[in-house]
């Protein structure tokens, strides 16, 4: 008999979300919904009428982990709309900033997922906050990687969190020769560390793939071999940076995208009738509680060819490097494999960077209302911003962020998982829920659903 269990809130990812799960007698998910319950902030609506310079700085504030993705995607959407080509050295600085941000984000995600994993060959789970070895040296390495990444981002981008240097038409500042050398030195130090960290993580993940079960709340929970499998396919625009409608051959097709409403993909009202007070830490939602994912979801559902898709590191590797594994652990593996590329990219860009080169376009058109889009391959996947700019002001603005693409896809990937490890499936997407919750959701009669929920 089908029962409904709910984990709310979910933990160890960015933002506020929950899992409403229909499970069979063995506790295996038959149909799972993972949805954002982060209050809608409506960035896209409030952007209308504001200047094209200001909107990217607001969009950046959607998320403090991947502000670089939103800042760059937003600026480049404006540049695509007005038809502004930026100088080469500005682009190089943006790529350095971008790669540094991806680096810090992967390392941060290591901290979030490691508590689900075991020291290879043992029954001891990894606690990155413990003073004991080997935890302490792993944590120290992760912190140094993040420090290096944030420092590089601050130098190239002006600020690690909410970069100040990018502007419509390029960058405010080129860097000094000293700054260029400093980035190179840091990148070389980081390269050694990320190779070590990647090998460590891959060992930990492979150990997990060989395990039969994991312990959750004192219980042994079997791990299905197909954990997290789905048939939604993947979408990616670039192995590293992104694409935009200014490109000669854009790698994303706006005509294949369609925005849909949550209730085309989520379940309707259900009543929780399975409750586990021992789920760590604090138990699950009380039996008798009603849930309604269709109405509660604060995310919308963008589709590609009419279906939700997976975006992120695995999507990039599958699209560009023929990576052919799928599911939860394949996603983890793909993410670790992106580590070294971040630093090789930075070093390559530094080689090409001319510190006395100009970083702002000579002419910045003010726009005639044409639609432009830019895709940034954010740490979590394809982040697409679309804009229409006229006379320097934003007429229309849309953000299709990675975790928004992943919400319904991941929900389908939950099927077949014991509900106690549904969160492990979610974490493999490295969700960024506040990223995914930035829009106003409109129902059939064009009433604003999100506003109704807030009331």
């Amino acid at each position: 008999m089908t029962k409904v269990v709910e984990i709310s809130p979910t933990t160890r990812h960015e933002g506020h979300s929950k899992l409403t799960l229909k499970v069979n007698d063995q506790g295996i998910v038959e149909r799972g919904d993972w949805l954002s319950i982060t209050p809608v902030r409506g960035v896209e609506k409030l952007a209308i009428g504001k200047t094209m310079e200001q909107v990217p700085k607001i969009a950046s504030r959607v998320c403090g982990i991947c502000p670089v993705a939103h800042c760059l995607a937003s600026i480049e959407a404006m540049e695509a709309s007005i038809g502004c080509e930026i100088p080469k050295d500005a682009k190089l600085l943006r790529v350095i900033l971008h790669a540094a941000n991806r680096l810090h984000s992967i390392a941060l995600h290591n901290i979030l997922i490691l508590p689900d994993f075991y020291i290879p060959g043992t029954e001891t789970k990894i606690n990155p906050f413990s003073k004991e070895e080997p935890f302490r040296s792993v944590a120290t390495r992760i912190f140094r990687i993040r420090e290096i990444a944030q420092t590089i981002a601050a130098i190239a981008g002006g600020e690690a969190i909410h970069p100040s240097n990018p502007r419509i038409g390029g960058m405010y500042q080129n860097v000094s020769p000293r700054a260029k050398q400093k980035i190179a030195d840091l990148a070389k130090e980081g390269l050694v560390l990320v190779h070590e960290q990647m090998e460590f993580m891959l060992d930990v993940i492979r150990d997990m793939q060989n395990r039969e079960y994991v312990t959750v709340g004192g219980q042994n929970i079997p791990i299905p071999k197909t954990l997290g499998y789905h048939n939604q396919g993947v979408m990616a625009t670039s192995p590293m940076y992104g694409s935009s409608s200014l490109d000669e051959n854009p790698t994303w097709d706006v005509t294949r995208w369609k925005e849909t409403r949550p209730w085309e993909w989520y379940m309707g009202e259900v009543t929780i009738d399975l409750e586990d007070p021992n789920y760590p830490i604090g138990g699950t939602t009380k039996a008798g509680t009603r849930a309604n994912p269709q109405m509660e979801a604060c995310n919308s559902v963008p589709t590609y060819d009419g279906q939700p898709v997976e975006v992120g590191p695995r999507a990039r590797l599958a699209t560009f490097k023929n990576f052919n594994e799928k599911g939860t652990f394949a996603q983890h593996i793909a993410r670790q494999m992106e580590y070294p590329d971040c630093l090789y990219t930075i070093l390559k860009c530094l080689d090409d960077l001319d510190t006395s080169g100009k970083v702002i376009a000579d002419h910045i058109p003010q726009g005639d209302g044409s639609m432009g889009w830019a895709a940034n391959e954010a740490p979590r996947g394809t982040d697409i911003h679309l804009a229409k700019v006229k006379d320097g002001r934003v007429l229309w603005y849309e953000m299709l962020v990675p975790t928004t693409w992943n919400f319904p896809t991941c929900s389908r990937g939950l099927k077949g998982a014991p509900w106690q490890i549904a969160e492990m499936v979610v974490r493999a997407y490295d969700p960024c829920v506040s990223c995914a919750t930035h829009m106003i959701v409109v129902d059939e009669k064009n009433r604003i659903v999100a506003q109704r929920i807030i009331q």
């Binding site: 601050a154 130098i155 100040s164 240097n165 000094s176 000293r178 700054a179």
Partner: protein
């Protein structure tokens, strides 16, 4: 090390001397003893700093523009007092960003030293700044002028063209203007008061009490500076620089007019401005103007 002196008007300091740089090139265009320039050049050459914010040349004559100097030549370009506002701190964070500095030097007047210290202790959107400030050299400052004021004083009151001015100086109750061709004009300070920046009237610091090292003209003879060595960092840098032969020094006690005049002027500034602050409390009828020190 000498015991710390805590003077109510001159701030806390370890030692005070009269000094001048031994570098002839620096002295050629220095306002006084070349202390600010020589210290920053020495700190750069010794790796104590890897860049410093100085008041460089702006777009108009005698209009300062803050720059991040990373070479001796750039530091030397900032020699000479510009009696107009130079927003030094505007580059404080950027110095740690696109300039890629690890050890930032800052020069400026008293209020700019205050800004640096505040950013170090209360960094509000000033990430990385607290740990990267390496050396601060503060100038004595009685008051400052907006650029329009400076134009009016020099062009109208002193009847000189700004383009021909070589040096300006406020001393002995007068605003002095020296031209390249050797003319000297003076304006009685009384005539300049209405051109002062109003914000200077609530300032309670004359000798840059919060700098690592502060330096100024009053108290020492022409061509020499009065120097306070205040912090551990300042003492370290100064001792090394003196040992390396960068400065000629004399104990301030052996110099005329010495600390007596300096204390008198510091007291005048602080007492006058404290009165202004008190008046702000009763500026309106049953209401006050804000007091940032409250």
């Amino acid at each position: 090390m000498r015991e710390m002196t805590a003077d109510p008007y001159l701030g806390k300091y370890i030692t005070c001397v009269s000094a001048r740089s031994t570098d002839k090139e620096i002295l050629k265009k220095a306002q006084d003893g070349g202390i600010a320039t020589a210290l920053m050049v020495y700190a750069l050459e010794e790796g104590i700093i890897d860049g410093t914010i100085v008041a460089g040349e702006g777009d108009r004559p005698w209009e300062p523009r803050p720059i991040v100097a990373m070479s001796r030549e750039d530091i030397l370009k900032a020699r000479g007092t510009k009696y107009s506002i130079s927003p030094q701190i505007a580059w404080l964070k950027e110095a740690t960003r696109s300039f890629g500095l690890d050890k930032v030097g800052v020069t400026g007047v008293c209020c700019q030293m205050q800004a640096v210290r505040k950013a170090q202790l209360y960094p509000i959107n000033m990430r990385d700044v607290p740990g990267k400030v390496a050396l601060t050299v503060g100038l004595f400052c009685m008051e400052n002028f907006p650029y329009k004021s400076l134009q009016t004083i020099v062009e109208d009151h002193a009847a000189q063209s700004l383009g021909s001015v070589k040096k300006m100086e406020i001393t002995k109750g007068k605003f002095w203007v020296h031209t390249e061709r050797g003319n000297v004009s003076t304006v009685p300070l009384k005539a300049t008061h209405k051109y002062e920046q109003p914000g200077c009237h609530v300032c309670l610091d004359y000798v840059s009490s919060l700098a690592d090292i502060s330096t100024g003209s009053v108290g020492s003879p022409d061509g020499w500076s009065t120097v306070f060595i205040r912090t551990k960092k300042g003492n370290e840098v100064w001792s090394k620089a003196v040992a390396a032969g960068m400065f000629e020094t004399k104990p301030i006690e052996d110099v005329k007019p010495g600390l007596e005049l300096l204390t008198k002027l510091a007291k005048e500034k602080i007492d006058k401005n404290r009165k202004t602050l008190e008046e702000r409390r009763n500026f309106g009828v049953n209401k006050a103007l804000r007091d940032p020190y409250a």
